[in-house]
Symmetry: C2
Subunit: 711 residues, 2 copies
């Protein structure tokens, strides 16, 4: 329902049903309009009062003269009154409304029914409806609001908007007092009609919104959410989210099955990464990251090499400690820059990056020269200025630190690199200093962790932008894909082994060396063909756990051992699984000692599509849940990065006397699997290649076990 | 130098050399005294002015009438003037001074010499000297200061003090504007005379200080620092530190040698844990954790079971996500509490812990009843109230949230459990609400992460207190320890194998099953005694890496294999290490398959004493640096907790078909090793038992390789 919300969110006239002077929502709504400087018409509606807050009060909606044009209806009455009032509104031609009351879907079956009726009624009459069960919205630039809670005395205008299902979060943002300016703040509540996606679409088109913050408890329409994120990317409007629900991860049962390893939160995380959405973990981070984007979304760093300048060796050390683990690094500055710094600072000051530029305390000339030197250095992509500038400082202190702010602005201007000034104490920002920085395009952030996190978000955003710009080789599907799909549609559940092989083969993945046999003679021939020790395994999609019932026999090195193993396998089969259909017996070469165990999986999320999971070293997967997940399709570089993120990735290097493993072959396999997952996303719900043995460099990978779920 | 610093830090009269009206330190120093309400005498000294800031100005220290008693001398002149001025001060009987100027140890050899002279001079005349190269100090309760930078217009008095080497950090704390009250703020600078330990000792005795914050770049006198921490614990004054230098960790070379695994930062971390010092990572955390202690140090939680109450389901989810990974958990509330909550809240509100107590929005009666119910529940040790209360809210909003604050205070009073209210936005705290909370003994913290971190610090502090109270069974040394020590003093470097065994044996540690042999015949006898496959290893402290040169032969299963291995060993010995003295040849049983590899090490830190390192699963140690370190001696519970912290600890459980390992035996070994390390701390510098094979449950541990460094 991406449609025009201007009457709702930028009303020129608003009727307030339940207007009152008694403390509460009915009074707050009017006081808020006055506080924010609403210049349109207000029509208080309440049969109990002739006047409210000095305005004539109407006994009902109908009583408002028909000549008056009402853009938006604010309903401050209880849940039972909402439907009748919307009927009246519709009759009156009102096409936008907000209701505060709770008592709908959140209260059980009756409430759900009422909410469905509400939805129905609004759909029927084309009413853009906000809520119910929410505090409403504020449009700072339009000086309009419909809000049940008292707004702060000062709500600065800016270019950041917010959407939250939680009213308390919208209030926290409005009240935050971190000196950040807003465009629109929208509490979406139960989302009976309009939901977070509708508001996102609206904000993407809002000329006063540059950055969208979202505090999400659930993503109601994931596909539309994805589209909105794409459109926001097209329009260069960064999105910053808090998505509640990370801790579900912890409750997840472990581990080897990719479906379990990958979880909803993992998939959402992968989606956010793939979509350039910055995910953060607190409201403070939400605000500071949005503020950084508001200033720098059009001046993103070219890379992750930061320069840091401070007037405190102590803070410098603390910040260096905090940079570890973030996708930031201190860039190397050139010899020329070192020489220049050497000439600026006293002989006893060490020069380099990060830089303590206090020197002899000259913040008028030496400090600006230092920061300009860093900003001009080709080895640095972004300049971070650590400078504590909280509110309440003495005037002389403000004066001194204003010099730092001016130097930061100057460096930004001369270098056109992004510059961030941040305060290591989150005690507000001195307004004079903020105004210098604001005018100079330098965000002033609060909190060491929040600021570094925001800098990291800028770096990730730049990478996202570059990925989008790069020509994408989403290679075409294989020519016979349609035929394959139609055969998959005939299957259900786990694919028979031969079909699973066909699916892999169609995407260029070969399972080398294995033989599917049906007779003892064939088994001997296969073993001879392998030319070394083999494993025997019953191939049957109806028997998931083969080790437990002895349907896997390892390390068979002689014909007589093969005979014995063949007999054991069939004895166990008869004992445990008599009559279960099998595809045959797999004769596989034993993986050479020193291979690295990997898993490659696919797990399709109903909303976000197929995700590819990679893990290394069975024990790392099982004990540490050491897997990475990204949405398909993936390029070679992305897969290489994924594997590099694994704690077990050093296993691929020469290690404990074992040769270097064939990482390239693993990367290639994952890319192909991701392409398969992408093109067959409607036909394959999950896939598990586990284990995949990564052989020594140059020898490729060997897929040992294949489970593909059709459907 | 734990001595009386009252003349320095609570001066009743102060002479300011370099006093001036020109902007700068010479003017700031006087303005600061006035701003803070200094009631003592001020003697400006400057030959260039007859009057300064309306006060008579003296041309020199000598010019101040001898009848005037000068407690403290503030020196705002350059480095070259400091020594002569201190001479004059000494002549005048002044026994406390502060100097602002830089230009000492930080500027190279000349500066170091000057600083040594300064130290000498002060020692000689008994001058308590603060600095140089620092911004000075503020004593808020005494209304005294000597400070070169402009102090904030309002510096609230409270019970938290701070020490920082970095002047910028002391300024950041003074300016922080987080509404926290201070006692003394001390910038220690170069610490030419008084250092952080002296100030700590002073603050431990300061009746206005309840909590000590320290921002440390280096710990100059670790032993005295430890003593100060112990005394602070005795006096129940919590210490909160930022210790810069975590990122040195990253630079550390890897991994298997415990000396490398344990590092300075690890040891310091262990010391902080063992001493009840709360280590944090930012200035915001420093302030909020200190604030929590200031209110609750005498009402620590009995355990880690928190109750959380909010008016926002969204924030509740975010907080739950953030609690993961902290030593906090949501406690289970009783059925009676559930029933009670059920009767308070509307039928549609889910009840439990964490609790969204918004209900129908009744914050006057329902909300207080909810919080009281949680606070009264025996399943909860601490109540967290999530409520955003930043500055700048509308008066009506303040009124509403004041009800929440009053409910929190009431719950604190009735239950006598600790209660923390925290704001998820760090935008200050409304003063009216803070005052309600302050009077009620409820800290009001800012920031989701900061508040949860502070709650975790309270829990750790309670554990520390309980550990200190518990009778400590630091079992006596073995009776023959003195004889052992005298023999160790005769050794140097790596101990010969027989002596190493004796050392272990003295502490009840046996190395079972191995035989040190010298002839082929003895080797055969030893193999027969073992009764299974054995390994042969050359025992020589002069050959650290035996595998590389073939001095370790594994899996010898027959007498003929033994002969062959014996020959190979001697061939390799002759080839690579001809003439190197050996202790003999070790015949060791092969560890049974399915044993878990562990390492147990000792690394003595010159300052903090012996630390014990434990790691599990060779690959986890090598790839993930998965080890834990604590200071010796250790009890069984502590060691069990250490092992539980290892990522590889699940390896000890039944796993991949392997039986449960003998964790108890490993714990016992580590406890004994810690006792050994403690009693032999002056004689053994490092020890490496690596690998130690942990056998299946009931079968104990087997120490495979022993390296003990005497010295």
């Amino acid at each position: 329902m991406h449609n025009d919300l201007s009457r709702l969110l930028s009303p020129r006239s608003i009727a307030i049903v339940g207007a009152s002077e008694r403390p509460g929502a009915g009074s707050n709504s009017i006081e808020n309009l006055r506080r924010i400087g609403f210049s349109g018409r207000i029509y208080p509606v309440n049969p109990n009062y002739p006047r409210v807050h000095g305005m004539p009060c109407y006994p009902s909606i109908e009583a408002i003269p028909a000549t008056e044009d009402i853009d938006c209806l604010a309903i401050l009455l209880g849940s039972s009154m909402i439907l009748p009032l919307l009927e009246q509104a519709a009759a009156r031609g009102i096409s936008a409304a907000w209701a505060f009351a709770s008592g709908f879907a959140e209260v059980g079956d009756d409430g759900r029914r009422a909410q469905a009726q509400l939805h129905e009624l609004c759909a029927q009459h084309g009413i853009r409806f906000c809520g119910p069960n929410c505090v409403g919205f504020v449009n700072v630039h339009a000086r309009a609001c419909a809000c049940s809670a008292p707004l702060p005395l000062h709500l600065p205008a800016g270019r950041i908007s917010a959407i939250a299902q939680s009213g308390a979060v919208i209030l926290a943002i409005a009240n935050a007092n971190r000196g950040i300016g807003f465009s629109q703040l929208i509490s979406s509540g139960n989302e009976a009609v309009l939901d977070a996606v509708d508001y996102m679409e609206h904000l993407i088109d809002d000329p006063h919104t540059d950055v969208i913050m979202a505090f999400l408890e659930s993503i109601r329409r994931p596909r539309e959410f994805q589209q909105a994120c794409r459109r926001a990317a097209d329009r260069n409007k960064p999105i910053v989210v808090v998505k509640v629900g990370r801790s579900e991860l912890a409750r997840k049962a472990a581990v080897t099955h990719t479906g379990a390893v990958a979880g909803t939160d993992d998939v959402q995380d992968a989606f956010f990464r793939a979509s350039g959405v910055a995910r953060v973990n607190s409201i403070d981070e939400l605000l500071e990251t949005a503020e950084a984007f508001a200033h720098l979304k059009d001046a993103l760093p070219r890379g992750n090499r930061v320069g840091l300048i401070t007037v405190s060796g102590g803070e410098l050390g603390m910040i260096a400690d905090r940079i570890e683990g973030l996708p930031l690094r201190f860039g190397e500055i050139s010899d020329a820059s070192r020489l220049k710094l050497r000439s600026i600072l006293p002989a006893y000051s060490p020069v380099g990056n990060p830089l303590d530029a206090w020197g002899s305390g000259d913040l008028k000339t030496a400090y600006p020269d230092c920061i300009e030197t860093l900003a001009a250095d080709d080895g640095l992509d972004m300049i971070l200025v650590s400078q504590d500038v909280p509110m309440g400082m003495a005037p002389k202190q403000i004066e001194q630190f204003s010099d730092v702010a001016r130097a930061a602005v100057q460096a930004r201007r001369l270098s056109s690199k992004p510059v961030i000034l941040f305060s290591n104490v989150s005690g507000g920002v001195d307004p004079a200093i903020r105004s210098i920085l604001d005018e100079g395009g330098v965000p002033c952030l609060q909190g060491t962790g929040e600021a570094l996190g925001a800098a990291a978000a800028l770096v990730r955003r730049a990478e996202f932008r570059d990925r989008r710009r790069a020509p994408r080789s989403e290679s075409a599907p294989p020519t016979d894909v349609e035929e394959l799909k139609s055969r998959l549609r005939g299957s259900n559940g786990v694919l028979p082994h031969p079909l699973a092989l066909e699916v892999l083969n169609a995407f260029g993945i070969t399972v080398a060396g294995e033989h599917l046999v049906h007779t003892r003679q064939e088994a001997h021939a296969a073993m001879a063909a392998v030319g070394g020790a083999v494993a025997l395994k019953v191939a049957s999609r109806f028997i998931p756990h083969k080790t437990e019932t002895g349907l896997l026999q390892l390390g068979i090195a002689s014909p007589s051992a093969l005979d014995a193993a063949w007999d054991r396998l069939h004895f166990n089969m008869d004992g445990h699984h008599a009559g279960v259909p099998i595809d045959g017996i797999l004769v596989q070469p034993m993986a050479p000692a020193g291979s690295v165990e990997a898993l490659v999986g696919v797990s399709r999320d109903d909303a976000f599509g197929p995700a590819v999971v990679v893990g290394l070293g069975g024990i790392f997967v099982e004990l540490l849940n050491d897997t990475v997940l990204e949405l398909a399709p993936l390029g070679h570089d992305e897969v290489r990065r994924m594997i590099g993120c694994l704690k077990g990735s050093p296993l691929l290097r020469e290690f404990r006397g074992r040769p270097r493993a064939d990482e390239d072959a693993l990367v290639d396999l994952v890319v192909k699997i991701s392409r398969l997952a992408h093109h067959l996303r409607d036909d394959i719900s999950a896939m598990d290649l586990n284990p995949v043995m990564v052989l020594p460099r140059g020898e490729g990978v060997r897929i040992v076990d294949i489970v593909i779920h059709a459907g």
